[in-house]
Amino acid sequence: MKILMKGNEAICEAAIVAGCKAFFGYPITPQNEIPEYMSLNMVKAGGAFVQAESEIGAINMCYGASASGVRVMTSSSSPGIALKQEGMSYLAGANLPCVIVNVSRSGPGLGGILPAQGDYFQMTRGGGNGDYYTPVYAPFSVQEAIDLIFKAFDVADLYRTPVQMVADGMLGQMMEPCVIEPRAAINVDKSWATDGNSGKRPRNIVNSLNLSAEGLEQMNKERFARYQEIKKNETMVDNRVKDGDEIAIVAYGAPSRVAVNAVDELAARGIKAGLIRPITLWPYPYDVFQNLPSSVKNILVCELSMGQMLDDVKIGVAGRLPVHFYGRCGGAIFEPAEIADAAEKIVRGGA
């Protein structure tokens, strides 16, 4: 059944349908609809909801709930995600699944509450201390956010890792028709869980501490072997570049919708452009840049930041083509014409 729902609320409803049994959060704009929705509907669904004393408190509540084997989620916005990094490093270190939603805003510092994509580094480069990554999903529509929430819980359980989703104020606040229906459940062994059943099996321990250099190195190598599997199985990209396109525009999340319109506008101006939209920001779809049609002579990266995903595009392109950048930040959002102008300048020369 199709329903009309706001992005933030659709994310919550999808999480509940996906079997999330606990939500711990803290107020921060522009994600407040998430804890608000959960405070009523998670409880109605028989799950746990706590408005924590801080983002640090919330992520550590997730750590405790996840340790017992239940599906758990938290959400916040950029500065609050920064506060959660300690807990995310511990979740990664202790191999605990958890879904973390970042309805991002502009920064640094307190910044502003308008949409921005300045959290790319924070989300894709570990963020906390130590050797780890987290899968990061970047939906561009309410329906895709729903689909990726189901996926995020599965991937978190399958690979025993925290998983992040990044939306922004645009996606969080926009209403779109969508479908939220239960998906086939995956089978995951959670016999490791510290669920207080040591009378029925050997005792379990959830821990990231290892004081032996060789022991800790081994733990990290084992984690990175799982990361290889994630890279192989879970990398997602929406590649719309066709033979004959002269320029590839790379954008993600809600701002990629502006890029879609820019591609149409460029067509009207007689320029063939194609869109590359990474859906996972980690693992990054580097391969897409190795198999571009030979007609593509330039790459234009468009972000609501000073250029962060730009680094990953450059890694993917590996010097084969010129990589250009057009971005806005601080909460300013580009218009299709701005992107089209930047692309036209590149294609017609002079850039």
């Binding site: 746990a48 669920d195 040591s198 005792r203």
Partner: protein, 249 residues
């Protein structure tokens, strides 16, 4: 035929304790283990260990264990208990963990009245990191970061955690006990047992503050350290029941 008159509690694991000679963490572990066994709660208990000397407490108790980040054990306990309300959840925390970096987490677990038990071992110093000043370090006490003794004008007076938490409306049971001699250990065990009983009965937040020793950090013999608890700590940290709204245990 010989008769067993004393044996190690089965609530403790076979792992060798990592504590320094003369420190009272080991004996406090024993009180907890015995209490959980006597109350028949051990098999459904989860211990949450802190960062500090007792960081490896998850290894020492014969039940499930979780290692928490510094100061956050009460938040971890909240997440665990809210999703597993029929289990017994306790945190084991020192004064650096609970009374410094973890003040927000302990105050708000207490504020929510979470049905958990907190065992707070106050030895007035950061033990594991090498004997730095804690919020509970006594005035004039020398530590590696108060080499001339704690100066009130610069660092205030030692924090009184039991007094603080007993003022929070949603707490149920707060008691301060000591671990320096047998009569006090017997009292300490009664307090620990009561706290777990209250949790099993769903009566809400309980904390037992136990004055402990740190002979290495204090630069004392174990015997002198026991005397320090009695003569110097107890006058500033008065023992007693600060709050008990649990009724019959």
């Amino acid at each position: 035929m010989s008769k067993i008159v004393y044996e190690k509690s089965r609530g403790l694991s076979e792992t060798q304790l990592s504590y320094c000679p003369g420190c009272t963490h080991g004996i406090i572990h024993k009180l907890i283990a015995e209490s959980l066994v006597e109350l028949d709660l051990l098999e459904r208990t989860i211990v949450i260990s802190p960062v500090g000397c007792s960081v490896m407490a998850y290894d020492f108790f014969n039940c499930d264990g979780i290692q928490a980040s510094h100061g956050r054990a009460p938040a971890v306990a909240t997440g665990l208990k809210r999703t597993n309300p029929d289990k017994i959840v306790f945190t084991y925390q020192g004064d650096g963990d609970l009374a410094a970096i973890g003040t927000a987490e302990i105050v708000h677990a207490a504020h929510r009245g979470d049905n958990i038990t907190v065992i707070f071992v106050n030895n007035a110093i950061y033990g594991m990191t090498g004997g730095q000043m804690a919020p509970t370090t006594l005035i004039d006490m020398k530590t590696s970061t108060s080499p001339l003794g704690r100066v009130e004008a610069l660092t205030g007076k030692p924090l009184l955690v039991s007094e603080l938490l007993s003022q929070i409306p949603s707490t149920t049971y707060i008691e301060r006990v000591a671990s320096h001699d047998v009569p006090h250990l017997n009292k300490a065990k009664r307090a620990v047992k009561k706290a777990f009983q209250y949790q099993a009965q769903g009566k809400g937040f309980s904390m037992v503050e136990i004055l402990g020793t740190c002979p290495i950090g204090w630069n004392m013999t174990p015997t002198d350290a026991m005397g320090f608890v009695k003569d110097t700590m107890m006058p500033y940290f008065p023992l007693g029941v600060y709050k008990d709204e649990g009724g019959e245990a």
